[in-house]
């Protein structure tokens, strides 16, 4: 590193940072140096300690030990106000925006200037105009934030940081909610910021992003910093190996599908919610035995609702769908138990909310929804020993660690919790498997395993409907890809024809709603 010889001090210098939460050593002797004016990536799996590290840098947590130097000065950062005072700005993974405030109100919050908001608002408006000219960051200051598309909300977060005079900008998993096009726009903004001398710390678990935009990269694993590299000198394969600690297969072994008879037939399915908003508009599709159909889309475009309806959690308000010979309509709705009897299994998007009960033991979580059967229990009575026995078997089969049926579900890692859900749903040998976000918050090793299981299940003849916001996952697993936007299916692509650009345009609704997209673009430029 160009430390002593360089005439300008390092933007960030962390040494021997330690932080524990109870028994979990989230950061262990972590050191990091960031050169000013560089885009520096930190990559690692979920739970590697990346977010903890930047939270310490932004004053959300205090470190147990270690020193922080900003621009060469040793400092203590006790809270966000301290961090802002040191010129550090942060764009959080979950936006820190007040949803029903205007852009202007959000930007000036905490920096109002005087007791009355009027003068602060005027100053903020001027500053916003200047920032949007300097960096091409245009947003209408009087728009209500929750009415803005996610990409623009993120832009407001960046503006907020810059308005507070940030010279070091931290972005925590900034692309998780963006379409590929929005990601490109974000990267353009980051490049423009770098040109103006802003130092950027980019936290991500996506190898592609590190390769695309960073100058330097640091790799974290298990709470420790395992490597500092220059991006130009490394490769995705090397980074993946460093992240996981062993060689990983980045590509899934995907053989051509042999689709059979239709399993699920959906016709003009509609869902209008209690507020009168159409969440699903005339959805039609067919799923056959032995194929995986992926649903791509920016989260919040109706995918969750589609899963809820197909799994029987919500009743459709129009149209119908048929599973085998059973038709479900608004007049004759179903419920999850009945659909399970029809051969539908469901791995829900939010495993903590719908997949498992965190305080339950693994053995109990393993039979949720299936406790009516007679293999684990004698009808009325639960037999803990039988439950644990069958759970232990599935734990071996699905490589769930630690293999302790009595252990509380909450004490398993995200990947192993997901495997518990998957094991439960797959072992009923379903005809149709609905899967939502199968690898959200799951480490690379477990992702590999889960993907293999899904392909194997498909090869046995199960029809799989896969909903994921991870485009790579959709593209590597699906035989056909449907794209959802605004509650509608806006396009279908065969596996061979799908690429990120084509999917991204569909996800953004371009083509379907040219007018809307055009005006959004106008606001963006």
């Amino acid at each position: 590193m160009a430390n002593g010889g360089s005439w300008s001090p390092l933007a960030i210098e962390l040494s021997d940072i330690n932080k524990s939460f109870g028994d979990v050593h989230a950061n262990r002797n972590v050191s990091l140096t960031v050169v000013p004016g560089h885009i520096h990536g930190i990559i690692g799996e979920n739970g590697a300690g990346k977010s903890t590290l930047v939270s310490i840098l932004y004053g959300f947590y205090g470190a147990d030990s270690g020193t922080i130097r900003i621009n060469g000065e040793t400092t203590t950062i006790r809270n966000s106000a301290d961090a802002i005072g040191k010129g550090i700005g942060m764009v959080h993974q979950h936006f820190m925006l007040v949803p029903n405030f205007t852009v202007l109100e959000n930007v000036m919050l905490g920096r109002e200037g005087s007791l009355s908001v009027e003068t602060g608002a005027r100053k903020a408006r001027e500053a916003l105009n200047k920032l949007s000219q300097d960096f091409g960051l245009a947003v209408d200051p009087d728009m209500i934030v929750e009415d803005l598309p996610v990409g623009l909300q993120q832009r407001v977060e960046i503006l907020k940081a810059l308005f507070r005079g940030a010279e070091i900008l931290i972005l925590d998993e900034p692309t998780g909610v963006l379409t590929p096009q929005e990601t490109e726009q974000l990267f353009d903004i980051l490049r423009a910021l770098r040109k103006q001398g802003v130092t950027i710390l980019l936290i991500t678990h996506k190898l592609k992003e590190i390769m695309a935009i960073t100058d330097d990269v640091s790799v974290m694993r298990g709470g420790e910093m395992v490597a500092h590299l220059q991006t130009a000198d490394t490769s995705p394969a090397e980074l993946a190996e460093l992240m996981v600690g062993r060689k990983v297969l980045l590509e899934v072994d995907h053989t051509p599908a042999r689709p059979g008879a239709p399993v699920l037939d959906v016709q003009d399915l509609c869902l209008t919610d209690a507020a009168g908003i159409d969440q699903l508009k005339q959805i039609s599709m067919t799923l056959r035995e032995g194929e995986i159909v992926g649903i791509a889309g920016v989260s919040g475009n109706g995918q969750s609702e589609l899963l809820d309806v197909l799994s029987g959690i919500m009743a459709p308000t129009g149209g119908h769908f048929t599973v085998g010979t059973n038709q479900i309509t608004a007049e004759r709705p179903s419920d999850p138990a009945e659909l399970r009897d029809f051969g539908v299994a469901h791995v829900p998007e939010d495993r903590h909310k719908c997949g498992i009960v965190l305080p339950f033991s693994a053995a109990e979580s393993m039979i949720l929804g299936y406790s009516g059967g007679d293999e684990e229990d004698g009808g009325w009575w639960l037999s803990p020993s039988k439950l644990e026995e069958s759970c232990a078997g599935r734990m071996r089969e699905f490589d769930i660690r630690p293999p302790i049926p009595k252990l509380q579900s909450a004490n398993f890692s995200g990947g192993n919790q997901q495997k518990i859900v998957l094991a439960r749903e797959i072992s009923t040998q379903p005809k149709l498997l609905l899967v939502g976000q199968p690898t959200r918050g799951v480490d690379i090793g477990a992702i590999e395993f889960i993907h293999k299981q899904l392909i194997a299940l498909r090869n046995e003849g199960c029809a799989i409907l896969l909903v994921s916001v991870e485009l790579d996952e959709i593209m590597s697993l699906s035989d056909r890809i449907l794209v959802m936007n605004n509650g509608q299916i806006v396009g279908e692509l065969a596996r061979e024809d799908a690429d990120e650009r084509a999917l991204g345009l569909m996800m953004a609704g371009i083509g379907a709603e040219e007018k809307d997209a055009g005006s959004a673009k106008g606001a963006a430029s």
Partner: protein, 324 residues
């Protein structure tokens, strides 16, 4: 005809007087709840300050001293609620309920110990109460039809706290929309982490909101025992704190809406007391019990039926914990 007009004006006048503590409490509730703290302790704060106002007024022979003591004690209770629900991150409903029970018991116990009148305070003399303020020329202008009578019967003759209550509505509206504190207050009730990451203390903002709520509740209590009434009677708030809460929710946490809802409740109560013993066509003697129960019934209906449609502050009831 003229008599009916006079009856109407007197009812409006009574509406204002009955609605005053509701308005003060509802504004207090707006401050607490906009900051994200559920405030069912409006009732307890008002009851305790009603007692303290009357007791101190008796001892010092000054209504003003009584009111300031009432404000002080309401602020203390607000800080207690804050300690439990902000600092110690307890359940806000339970903390509020505890304060209500505390106030209900303590006022009677201390009242009996101090005055030996079964929990009441002695009847207050004129100087120990807030007196009606007769506006200039009320009698002379009273002769003018309509405008004059409105001036004499409705506008003139209220004590200072009625005017303060109406002023509190303007104050609340101004604070919420035009000031730095208001911006932060609204932000902390919607998305506390946004305020935190902007470098402003969530706890400080919420405590400040509870202190302002305490001041308003203190005045509401003082009004009950030293302006509207002439001494403290046990349980004299009789659920008015909850009615104010319902009015605030019905008014969608907005000062203007809450004011209108308070006036509606006040009107029902005023009508109820006017109708006592009056012969009505078809029904006969007015069912006083039913009419007296109307504001409470309406409270239940509003709380149960309209909450779903109103949009509460998003972070309400959740203690702020930095995410892991």
């Amino acid at each position: 005809m003229a008599d009916l007009w006079l009856q109407f004006l007197l009812t409006i006048d009574a509406t204002l007087r009955v609605a005053t503590p509701l308005i003060l409490c509802a504004m207090a509730g707006i401050f607490s709840e906009k900051s994200g703290v559920i405030d069912i302790s409006l009732e307890g704060k008002m009851l305790m300050s009603a007692f303290v106002a009357a007791a101190v007024a008796t001892l010092t022979s000054s209504a003003l001293a009584g009111m300031f003591a009432a404000i002080g004690v309401a602020i203390m209770l607000g800080l207690l609620h804050g300690l439990a629900s902000i600092t110690l991150r307890g359940n806000q409903v339970i903390s509020g309920l505890a304060i209500n029970i505390l106030a209900s018991g303590l006022t009677v116990t201390v009242g009996i110990a101090m005055f030996q009148q079964g929990g009441q305070t002695p009847n207050l003399a004129r100087a120990e109460r807030f007196r009606p303020i007769e506006l200039p020329f009320a009698e002379q202008l009273g002769g003018i039809p309509i405008i004059g009578t409105i001036y004499r019967e409705v506008i003139s003759g209220h004590n200072i706290l009625v005017w303060i209550a109406l002023g509190a509505v303007l104050f609340t509206a101004f604070m919420l929309t035009r000031t730095r504190f208001g911006l932060r207050l609204r932000a902390v009730g919607e998305k506390p982490e946004a305020l935190d990451s902007a470098g402003v203390s969530v706890a400080r903002t919420r405590y400040l909101a509870l202190i302002i709520a305490g001041i308003l509740c203190g005045m509401a209590g003082a009004y009950l025992s030293t302006a509207h009434g002439s001494g403290f009677v046990r349980e004299m708030t009789a659920g008015k704190g909850y009615i104010a809460l319902a009015a605030m929710i019905f008014g969608k946490w907005q000062p203007r809406g809450a004011l209108l809802a308070c006036l509606l409740f006040g009107f029902l109560e005023a009508v109820a007391s006017r109708l006592q013993g009056v012969e009505l066509p078809l029904i006969g003697q007015a069912p006083v019990d039913l009419i007296l129960a109307l504001p409470y019934l309406l409270t239940v209906i509003l709380l149960a039926g309209f909450v779903g449609k109103a949009m509460p502050p998003r972070a309400i009831g959740e203690p702020y914990i930095k995410e892991r």
